[in-house]
Amino acid sequence: MGADELVINMGPQHPSTHGVLRVKLKLDGERVIGSECIIGYLHRGVEKIAENRTYQQFAPYVDRMDYVAAVSSGLGYCEAVEKLLLVEAPLRARVIRTILTELQRIASHLLWLGTHALDIGALTPLFYCFREREEILKIFEKYCGARLTTHAFRIGGLQYEAYDTLEKDVERFCKDFESRISEYETLLTQNRIWIGRTKGVGILTAEDAIAFGVTGPVLRASGVKWDIRKAAPYAAYNQYKFEIPVGTTGDTYDRYLVRMEEMRQSRLICLQAIENIPSGPILAKVGKVLKPPPGEVYHAIEAPKGEIGYYIVSDGTVMPYRVHIRPPSFINLQAFDRMVRGHLVADVVAIIGTIDIVLGEVDR
């Protein structure tokens, strides 16, 4: 309340900036009148590394960007290179890819839900969410031996054949998940405090969202029906029926509802996919040494956090000439200042949580 503005540094070591994000907040009392995100604490030069690795060698690096949704990042990269090579993965590979990415979406959203609720002060959902996320990670582990940075796919198809009980495991998970998700909803959706903390907080209008280039659940919560799975289907998404949940006001509560519904839809996709996994090869015919023809390609998929795009330029050698990555977290974060102005410090953490950023992806 003093005459001066108070400048407060949130992070990079702060319990709720989800990593090493540093936010410089200009406060008037507890009201935010301006903010500046300072990023780069986790910068590893992923794009530059790509120029010095072969196409296959670079594949594990994309897992380290969004490390809570590594499967999705990997899928985007593999498909981009396939597009560059003008090959298509066999159907069996694509179906299994779809199952794993949708499971990854659920896992990512679960992590988001747990930490977001924790930021707002609900302690318990975190552990419930981790319980289910653990099941998904177990499936990943069984499939490829890794839980977090899976490197599950290969350019041209799959690294490994699906293990015997994959379908059964996924089915069991989906069956349990139905009731589990309503468990979270009983804790939060109708809770007065939860509604009070999220409704009307961090409103992003549809025009603003489009202007900022925001994608993913954040965009959909603002009422824009845009999902690459429908708009430009990849993997095997054109075979399955699912809905795209859309919000109305674009506040934190809407984003919450949209993500909850997305988890339900992902579950449905998984159930449809395991019903009929076609047999056949899992790897298209690609050589041991990948030498794509000179040219450039942009390929984007719908990652849990939004559109993750790969722009790859090839000069005909074994290493890409240039790789640019369009990380959803980085671009969604740009809308942060717009969302946070005029709100209180407590809303800042709610808004950071609701954008669902991973600093590995923001900083690359």
Binding site: L6, I8, H14, P15, S16, E30, I33, G34, A117, L118, D119, I120, G121, A122, L123, T124, L126, F127, Y128, R131, L187, L188, N191, I193, W194, G196, R197, G200, I203, R338, R341, G342, H343, L344, V345, A346, D347, V348, V349
Partner: protein, 457 residues
């Protein structure tokens, strides 16, 4: 010189029991708090589908001691530009206020440190309110924005909710006409009904206000870790930090004890006046024996010899306590002539049990809330306090007063008082809903004008 010695001796002769009690409380309380924390962690773990501390001792039973040792030997850091004197003083103030306010409480008819102070319950409430200086000054002295914001939030919050809590206390005190802690419980025993039934709205107000006063979730904004790191405690570490921790839990015990004394019948057994329900006296020892038996059964399941021994020790402790509890109720049954002799023991031991039991329930409720509910935002918290709780508690005081006059007019006593207090409570509830409805209307009107304001920048 001789006179001084004489006077000192005389003083000691007069006040040895309260002094001993005081020393005992100060010595034992940190241990009790440590175990409350363990219980809290266990309950939290239970609610969150995990195990909680399991490593130190069987089922983590020695965890508090390990924690205490860790905190004591931790490096003691004082920030560079901190105000050293205040930084040193603040946690001591906080914990001192908490401990001192315990002095005014009566755990049973026999246990009370400050015997029969005339201002009784006011003493407890007033002294424990001083703890706020520890928080405010600690936040200020650490010379950090987070701490200062935590401190400012805390002072605003405490001052606001103190009013509501005070009003709730007044409604209960209207029934007793005395501030003395013992007389309050005795009044409930005489009426044969606890004041929670006579003044439910006041109990509710006090419950909410007491959560806010002890800075517990969902009102734990001064130390909201996701916003202000740790609020006023951010810069404190090691022993100083543990003093704050001790103060917080002591305050919980204090508010729980105040609520127990005023609303939940203090040390009285449920239905203390009803003689055919006297068999309830046998419940506490039986429950303890059951717990002990369970421990004995679990002994074979323990992996190491030490853990087995520890389990047996716990079981033994349960049996001893059960024996102590059982003796005053079983002896008169065996030998009726002993009834007179054991009566004071019965009152003291069982009174203490029931008091601690009720306090534990109250604290359990605090924990339960903490694990279930998200945190309020600061403006919402202040709004809840000023726009809802304070008006409600003032209305309730008026209604309870009117009900009491009506009760006196119709010469109602005990359960009969419910005839007049229940309508008063219902009226208060109606008032509460009215207040909420007005708030909602107000909100709706605000919302129409507000959104443009957010993007003013």
């Amino acid at each position: 010189m001789n006179a001084t010695l004489q006077a000192t001796l005389e003083f000691l002769k007069l006040y040895w029991a309260p002094l001993l009690c005081g020393v005992a409380v100060v010595a034992i309380l940190p241990l009790i708090v440590g175990y409350i924390v363990l219980v809290e962690r266990k309950i939290m773990a239970d609610m969150q589908a995990r195990l909680g501390p399991m490593r130190v001792g069987p089922h983590g039973l020695l965890q508090p001691i390990a924690d205490a040792v860790k905190l004591l030997i931790k490096e003691d850091i004082i920030p560079e530009h901190a105000d050293k004197l205040v930084f040193w003083l603040a946690p001591v103030l906080s914990v001192g206020a908490g401990l001192l306010s315990l002095a005014g409480l009566a755990i049973g008819p026999a246990f009370q440190i400050a015997q029969d102070i005339n201002i009784g319950i006011l003493f407890v409430v007033g002294i424990s309110a001083l703890g706020i200086f520890g928080i405010v000054l600690g936040g200020w002295a650490s010379n950090s924005h987070y701490s200062l914001m935590g401190a400012l939030r805390s002072s605003a919050q405490l001052v606001s909710y103190e009013t509501a809590a005070g009003m709730a206390l007044v409604s209960a005190l209207l029934f007793t006409g005395t501030l003395n802690v013992k007389s309050i419980v005795e009044a409930q025993s005489k009426e044969g009904i606890w004041f929670v039934l006579l003044a439910p709205v006041a109990f509710f107000t006090y419950l909410v206000a007491s959560i806010a006063e002890t800075n517990r979730a969902p009102f734990d904004l001064p130390e909201a870790e996701s916003e202000l790191v740790a609020g006023y405690m951010t810069e404190f570490s090691g022993f100083r930090w543990s003093l704050y921790f001790l103060a917080e839990y002591t305050n919980m015990i204090v508010v729980a004890s105040v609520a127990t004394t005023l609303f939940l019948g203090g040390w009285l057994r449920p239905f203390a006046g009803v003689s055919w329900l006297n068999f309830l006296d046998f419940v506490p020892p039986l429950v303890l024996i059951a717990i002990g038996a369970y421990c004995v059964l679990r002994v074979t399941k323990q992996p190491t010899r030490v853990q087995q021994l520890f389990m047996l020790a716990v079981a033994g402790l349960c049996f001893v306590v059960a024996l102590v509890l059982a003796a005053p109720v079983v002896l008169p049954v065996i030998k009726p002539s002993l009834r007179e002799a054991v009566a004071p023991f019965y009152a003291g031991i069982h009174g203490g049990f029931w008091f601690i039991f009720k306090v534990s329930l109250y604290i359990y409720f605090f924990m339960w809330l903490r694990f279930t509910i998200p945190r309020y935002r600061f403006d919402q918290l202040m709004r809840l306090g000023w726009h809802f709780l304070i008006p409600l508690s003032i209305i309730n005081v008026l209604l309870v007063g009117v009900a009491l006059i009506a009760g006196a007019y119709f010469q109602l006593h005990g359960w009969g008082l419910l005839l007049v207090t229940t309508p008063a409570a219902i009226l208060a509830l109606v008032a509460a809903f009215l207040i909420l409805a007005i708030e909602k209307q107000h909100d709706a009107r605000q919302e129409q004008t507000a959104p443009s304001d957010f993007y003013a920048g």
